[in-house]
């Protein structure tokens, strides 16, 4: 039995996202490196010089806490592959900024699924009664090797979820989860290296598609659900095409996928990718909606969840909430030279 289910129900109390305002069109990256028209996505979100995984995590966490209406958590797990320090947790910087001291806090690494792993972990801690509420945060300022095709999509963003018990108008419940892993070298970065390496086309079928299909099909088997039982499905988005291909192959329809598709405008925010799609979907969801979330992390693995939207969504979400769409739509275009400076690609 590989399903992940807690004895006590665990709810999502709030969520918050942060997308940095600067954008670089992939045509601009192509202009510098390849001479072709651009990448599979139109543009991507770029963190400024004074932003990093910690600053973005703080912003999305604060938003999530505000929506949840709580001022303390018992766990903060930050999933990131662009930790500002190799040794010194991002999560304690977030904890300090949130005024939390007596809390579990650590960083998780599992490429793009580090934060959904965090979601499973916090769910377990809440479900066991060990903590009342916890934060699962995704934050990445992904770096692409200059000139490599991944540079088109490697982007920056953060999203955070507060999980807790169901006492005060939760916005959703996590019904069921599955986690599937194998030792697969589709994409990696050695210690001390600035940029990752990957195996090109191998990152498709044997990596992304295999793992997502494995976690989702097992989840469907265990729960007895079919694609038609879901209002929405969100998949990890390394480029605009993969999540659509995976979704359609698994039997979902475009309308179910659309609200969560963000890669074309903001690129691949790595650990925040699938969860940002979930936040965008939450922004338009209604009580009663059942949502499928499936992440993929290179190295490799996939986390799948069934999430049910509750009445609290309408109460808590609207108001001073910053929607994902509003952040996606608001961008300042920059050129490659500025991009290279902000992302530290120029040696000084």
């Amino acid at each position: 039995m590989c399903g992940l289910k807690t004895n006590r129900p665990v709810y999502i109390l709030g969520y918050g996202a942060y997308i940095p305002i600067r954008r670089i069109p992939t045509s601009e990256i192509a202009r510098v490196w390849t001479g072709d028209e651009g990448g599979p996505n139109k543009e991507k979100a770029v963190a400024y010089e004074d932003e990093d995984a910690a600053t973005m995590a703080i912003e999305s966490s604060r938003r999530a806490m505000r929506m949840a209406g709580i001022d303390s958590v018992g766990a903060i797990f930050v999933g990131t592959e662009s930790k500002p320090y190799a040794v010194k947790p991002t999560s304690t910087i977030v904890a300090e900024a949130l005024g939390q001291k007596y809390t579990l806090a650590a960083d998780l690494e599992f490429a793009c699924k580090a934060a959904t792993e965090g979601l499973h972990i916090v769910e377990g801690l809440v479900g066991s009664g060990m903590i009342d509420s916890g934060l699962a945060v995704a934050s990445d300022t992904a770096q692409g090797r200059p000139g490599d095709e991944l540079e088109y999509t490697a982007a920056s963003g953060s999203v955070a979820y507060v999980l807790g018990h169901g006492t005060a108008d939760p916005i959703a419940e996590i019904e069921y989860g599955v986690s599937y892993v194998t030792d697969t070298p589709d994409f990696w970065r050695r210690q001390g290296e600035p940029y990752p390496r990957h195996l090109g086309r191998f990152t498709g079928e044997p990596a992304y598609f295999h793992h997502i299909k494995s976690s989702v099909s097992r989840l469907m088997e265990d729960t007895g659900y079919h694609p038609r039982d879901f209002a929405y499905a969100i998949f990890h988005q390394p480029n605009p095409r993969f999540p659509v291909t995976a979704g359609l192959q698994l039997g979902f329809k475009m309308e179910q996928l659309e609200p969560g598709l963000l890669n074309d405008k903001i690129g691949n925010t790595y650990s925040a990718s699938a969860l940002m799609g979930l936040a965008a979907t939450f922004d338009v969801s209604r009580p009663g909606d059942r949502i499928l979330l499936a992440s993929f992390g290179s190295g490799a693995g996939s986390d799948a969840f069934v999430i049910n939207v509750l009445d609290g969504m309408l109460k808590r979400r609207d108001g001073a909430h910053v929607t994902v769409r509003s952040m996606v739509e608001r961008g300042i275009e920059i050129d490659y030279a500025s991009y290279a400076r902000y992302r530290g690609k120029v040696r000084q």
Partner: protein, 132 residues
Amino acid sequence: MALPPIAYWRTKRTYYDMKGSICRSCGAAFYPPVKVCPKCGSRELDSAPMPQGGRIIGFTTTNEVGASFRRYRPLTFGLVELDNGVVVLGQLVDFTGDELKVGARVRAVIRKLREDGTDGIIYYGFKFAPER
């Protein structure tokens, strides 16, 4: 030239939360924090976070930036009157085009203030971004 990391650590609350002081006797608020109320002289002061929003009362973009911050220039600074009347000096970030003007509403955000080279500490603290 930089302050020692320990000096920074000690004042972290000031830079993460904008923790200032509120005088229990006369109610005045101050940032950075004080030990004696500059207004009424009382020593009865509470540590309290300042409001995270305010409006710009003045701004400038500095091109000639000192050594510690040189690689981040130009830097834009604003005098922000927080919602409790306290005036704070801070960097302004993420302003587009004509958003930057006196009276513009801002919110405090946490950003990197500077890095101590490639192997030293990263200093985080508040800056001001447009309130959206």
